[in-house]
Symmetry: C2
Subunit: 783 residues, 2 copies
């Protein structure tokens, strides 16, 4: 079904394709081929409808809460993608008639979705169809669609309905009050919608140009119904005739940057949106598409410049797939917005941001596109409002970041009820919003990492220090003094391993909290030494002097679980004493979460079974600060925890891949990398139904660049320690160190580093210190 | 496709059936075969889903308004009818594989939906399916479903998902906040929902019993997702095995009579609902169904006792169809509820009540089931609250009934925007809620008719007089003095013909307003003479003495359009002067509303074209009071207006049928009756997509009983003037006169009337006065 080798010539390893239509596995291509530009995301649903489709259009930041018992989420906007076609009066569907030469493809290079096939109707008329679609990176508000139908040897009547359909919901939840519906000049159709609670206006305009053999088909039938506007076109095609339709759509909202700030009226917004559509229609699909292709070339492919020479094109394809999606998901245009766990590709996780962003996605941007990384971190700075609210609600100090975040001021938005509990028949209570607290330290870590790699002092002065100080204040207030051990503990939390709830002293949480406070101490002292005006400002706002002395005292007394006699760090106070069960069945299952067909969460809590990497992530992160954990400890923990880990989170595999490579097992690392890459891209037809796994996609890139290329932050230095998989001949890419592009080429025998030479880049290569200014080449035997 | 002769033996002319499955015309059978018991209505959607289905479950009275820009409507409840079947892992659908012996039938006698067919999967496995379903008339809260699958000669795996799906909307509008979702004992699933604005709690429970060859299949897979709970069953069937599933559902709401009055807690409501389901499951489908059949027999078929002896079974079928639907639609259990224009069969008209009830539906109940008629009129009495509100908002006195009514206290709920205006590209403004005012007099007329026929003095004392007085007060305040003509005019209205907006002196409106005031005068004087305590009470409440003198004065001076030199009564001040256009194209069209593909309403307003009977309805109504209009006038107007009438309202044909019969053209009358009967029942596959035409269904009964049997109120007397269609040998039915059953048998040569003999029934038969006490037989040559 899925095909990865369709691209030839200049498109070799650029095309993800599906070669057979299957109405029961639509979610796969809808998600992984979704089109996005950070402003909006359009699921790649087929034009003609099918029963199991999920038709989604999301615009970043337009969060709305339906009412009591629900949490805020990204609403599913009105649909423009659906076209109801009739051939000789009968509904067109690939479920009937005969289809040949079918292919649906996402061209990653040009960010275009193309679907084509020859179809013979039940009445025996053969037609050739070609559908094309893009969501413009050049004009963030624009969706372009094109439909071409070539007639075969019989006369045929084609008619179709196309318009704007506001009957869409989020699994039944309707976020919009219906606004005005209009058709201008029998061509430009306009639907207004208004979110019920957040009061955001959405303006959607669509226009069609339909040609039959270059003659425009005018005066369609006009229709307005509840939440819906559409036009009906009808044409008689003689043998060999060609029908061509361009449909262009513009999407604007009242929170769009220029409008929201100037307090633009709805009327003005409508005019701008309509004018944009009129201008675009004059330009036409082909030229609009070329501008879009150009934007992808300049802003994406030329910038990241990543290549692998290898026999196995899938690896290169999967990295391009990752970069494609990382671009499509990132709201680079607006720092009030984050990245949802399913990006803009589906309803899953409601568009909320998790630690996924900071730990799995952000490194890609920090290393390769710091401007976007800064925007994403600024989103967290703006989120301090919600984080302070959450801390206060929980009787803590400082900023306690929400486990799930939506609009920055919203605070905690994690839902409270989940899937069925097979024992009680109730929904399972979700505790993450209350006690999965490591997110706060994860964000502080991301600030540290961003600052170390980019050197963006302006960011730190404006945002970064304040974030680190206020998160450290949270931790200082969060610690619980344990008299017996004479230590500060952190009790009743969930660590990254969410199969252990209400645990005490989760190693990840304690170490990261400790790191967070230490970082605050360092920054405080550094500012005191060198930038006292900034410290004074923040001191006034956050009462830092008092906080500083608490940090000093408490960070020394926090309990940090040590490796035991087998070098294993206890994941929490009880994990190592829990009963062990045979996990073979679940480890071998192709579906995630199968454990819960046999146990409820309360029971799982009592077993040595882990959802995803927990202690291992800690090694990966903190060794970027200083060498906290040596290889012996890493190895022991990898071998202890991995067999107990179900990888039921898509975040797990890439971490394991990196760690495996660190430990020298490149073959295992490669197989884990492949598994991570296959979560969305692979042949499993249901894994992406609710949307792509954004963190996993960041993980693909990290597994390659931080894993195989061994790029890692090491305190003040950039560490490079390549270990390529056997069949990779060469890996090249560009990263940025303190704003300077660093081009890296890795072959089996040689590492070549090139910079513009404006700065000295402090490097550690294979553990030895170097400085690169201009070019550095290091030869080695394959290690 | 549709078949009317499937019923044999005891089911002859009792079965409406569909003999071929067509996925593109699903709405037809969904609507006309819908199941209802006045409490709720369930669209007869197939168990397995199809793209064009409309899956609806409505509970009467549960109105909710989503928000700004929408009006209150009956919300579409969670669905229990859908079953997702997989055969050997593949989705079951009649669009694939091979189907034989297909039949879907509504058994009117037993109010059961049955669907059966033999289906061979694409892999070649043949299975026999049988689905049955009823909405109990015995227990108004109960829905019963049964699925039987007999396996053929190959082993097969069958699995299916079935549960409660709360993702349903009204064309995208979600009326419910999601409440708790539970599964008790791995069997009883419960979904709570709460309307967003009217704050009504809905409690739905469902349970399954699945047997394979009499062995129960237990421990289904349990699932809870957003707004959805379901169980997954799986069974391996050997050749010849039989799988049988019973699914029972109970539906309760917090406005249900006993609970809403006692202020029952939600917890209590849940317990009652669940207990009802448990009890029902113990009883089982077959016995529950028998109780339901018994209720239909006793309460419906035995009571109405209607029969036609004729070669053309369709006529009998269509009258049974009418009685079936009149029963299914009427909320006989609760006088706070009315009848929606589409009954409980679809979203059309949002469950709102129009004049359709009083003029087209109510006569059936007045004549044959006065208790239900009283309930429906009490609904209007309770609606005085909203009617007074509307009058006040419009600066009038008394009670101005809403054109569209929902919950009694809501007042006017007519939407303001309609279909596209092809000239402006905007939505067409709907003025009915403001200026279609005849509804107020129509309700007064219904009170008059009910009182005359039933003699229900208690109703009058409690409700009826007050309704007539307060509506008359409205009209007195509504009249506009025209100095030039020295008459009271009624300007700027819409009459029954809605293709004429903002007209002055619509004949129907003026005459009916006049009637309304005259009736008030009569009642006032009668009460003064004989029941002064009642008058005193109402006088205190409504200041009647002053009103009475206004009525006396103004009713004399109201302008009542007289027949012109051609005996034609001008429909309004300008109609007869408007331009005439060739209507052939539109008269011949099988679709309604085609005029608006060429003109907008503003243009239609300027032409002599009529949507539906206007002046003609007036003749029908007012001649029941006194002989206002003679045959010459009736004939002239029939022949003037009918050619200008598009019958774009389903209310039009039955009126014309009755009038044609009055004028002696029984052949024309019969063809109009047939057309009226065919609106829903006939072979047009899209006419009922949005729901059945409740008024038209009342009209079928009226065309037969008031038309062919010539039953008519005539002041204080019951008039009978039969003229049977040629091929009707005999027509029998029972009506009630002042609470006494009157059995009527009409043949070509003889009219037989039988009563219990307790009262003298004053009759007019063929224009001659009679009295019947016991039995009256009149022989005649066919007239």
């Amino acid at each position: 079904m899925m095909n990865y080798t369709y691209g030839k010539g200049e498109y070799e390893n650029w095309i993800v394709s599906e070669t057979e239509f299957s109405p029961d596995t639509l979610g796969k291509c809808e998600s992984i081929m979704y089109l996005g530009n950070g402003y909006m995301g359009l699921r790649s649903v087929t034009e003609e409808p099918y029963l199991k489709e999920v038709r989604n259009l999301f615009v970043n930041g337009t969060f709305n809460k339906f009412g009591e018992g629900e949490v805020t989420e990204l609403p599913n906007l009105a649909d423009v993608s659906r076209i109801d076609l009739r051939i000789d009066g009968e509904r067109f569907s690939l479920e009937i008639g005969n289809t040949e030469n079918y292919i649906r493809q996402l061209n990653l290079k040009e960010a275009e979705l193309i679907r084509q096939f020859d179809w013979t109707s039940p009445k025996g008329k053969t037609l050739r169809f070609r559908f094309r679609r893009f969501v413009s990176l050049d004009n963030l508000h624009l969706i372009g669609m094109k439909m071409e139908i070539e007639n075969g040897n019989e006369p045929v009547t084609i008619s179709f309905d196309s318009g704007i359909d506001g009957r869409m919901t989020n699994s039944g939840t309707q976020h919009f009050l219906e606004g005005e519906k209009r058709i201008f000049d029998k061509r430009f159709i306009q639907l207004l919608q208004h979110t019920t609670e957040s009061k955001i206006d959405i303006v959607m305009n669509a226009a069609h140009k339909v040609l039959v053999n270059d003659t425009e088909l005018k005066n369609p039938l006009m229709n307005i119904d509840r939440r819906k506007i559409w036009l009906t076109f009808e044409a008689e095609l003689a043998p060999g005739d060609k029908l061509e339709m361009e449909k262009l759509t513009t999407v604007y909202t009242s929170i769009d940057r220029p409008f929201s700030e100037k307090g633009t009226t709805l009327q003005k917004l409508r005019e701008v949106a309509l004018q944009d559509l009129k201008t675009s229609l004059d330009i036409g699909y082909d030229e609009l598409f070329q501008k879009h292709v150009q934007a992808w070339k300049e802003r994406v492919w030329n910038r990241y410049n990543l290549h692998i020479q290898t026999k196995d094109g899938f690896d290169l394809l999967s990295l391009r797939f990752a970069i494609y999606h990382l671009t499509a998901m990132a709201p680079a245009h607006d720092e009030r917005m984050g990245i949802g766990a399913k990006a803009l590709s589906g309803e899953g996780y409601k568009g909320h941001s998790f630690w996924d962003t900071e730990i799995f996605i952000l490194p890609f941007f920090i290393y390769t596109n710091p401007r976007v990384a800064r925007s994403l971190l600024t989103y967290r700075y703006l989120g301090l409002e919600g984080a302070r609210k959450k801390a206060k609600e929980n009787d803590y100090e400082g900023a306690m970041y929400p486990w799930e975040a939506a609009w920055p001021s919203d605070g905690e938005v994690t839902p409270v009820w989940g899937a069925v509990d097979i024992v009680t028949g109730k929904q399972t209570r979700i505790w993450s919003g209350y006690i999965e607290q490591h997110i706060t330290a994860d964000i502080a870590f991301a600030v540290y990492q961003y600052y170390q790699i980019t050197g963006d002092q302006d960011f730190m002065d404006q945002y970064g220090y304040e974030m680190v100080f206020d998160t450290a204040k949270f931790w200082a207030s969060r610690l619980e003094w344990n008299e017996e051990h004479g230590r500060y503990h952190i009790n009743d939390v969930i660590g990254p391993d969410e199969y252990k709830e209400h645990v005490n002293n989760n190693a990840f949480t304690n170490y990261m909290a400790h790191f967070n406070m230490k970082l605050a101490i360092n920054y405080y002292e550094e500012l005191k030494r060198n930038h006292s005006p900034i410290l004074n400002r923040l001191n006034e706002k956050l009462n830092l002097d008092k906080a500083y002395s608490l940090w000093l005292d408490r960070s020394e007394k926090i309990y940090l679980p040590e490796p035991n006699e087998n070098f294993v760090i206890p994941q929490d106070d009880t994990y190592l004493q829990l009963k062990e069960i045979d996990l073979t069945k679940y480890k071998q299952s192709k579906k995630v979460g199968t454990l819960f067909l046999d146990y409820n969460l309360e029971q799982v809590n009592q077993m040595q079974v882990t959802k995803q990497a927990d202690v291992l992530v800690l090694f990966y992160l903190l060794n970027q600060v200083e060498p906290f954990f040596n290889e012996e400890v890493k190895r022991a923990n990898f071998h202890y925890y991995e067999p107990r880990t179900l990888h039921d989170s898509s975040l797990s595999l890439s971490t394991h891949a990196i760690l495996a490579n660190d430990l020298g097992d490149t073959q295992l690392a490669y197989s884990l990398f492949r598994r991570a890459a296959e979560i969305d891209l692979g042949p499993f037809m249901h894994s992406s139904d609710h949307g792509i796994h954004a963190a996993s996609i960041g993980g693909i890139w990290q597994a390659a660049v931080c894993g195989f290329a061994g790029i890692r932050l090491e305190g003040d230095r950039l560490s490079i320690h390549p270990k390529l998989p056997d069949h990779w001949e060469e890996l090249t890419f560009t990263i940025y160190w303190k704003d300077e592009p660093v081009s890296i080429k890795i072959t089996k025998y040689r590492l070549t580093i090139r910079t513009k030479g404006e700065k000295e880049i402090p490097l550690t290569v294979f553990g030895e210190r170097h400085v690169c200014q201009g070019e550095l080449e290091i030869s080695y035997l394959s290690k």
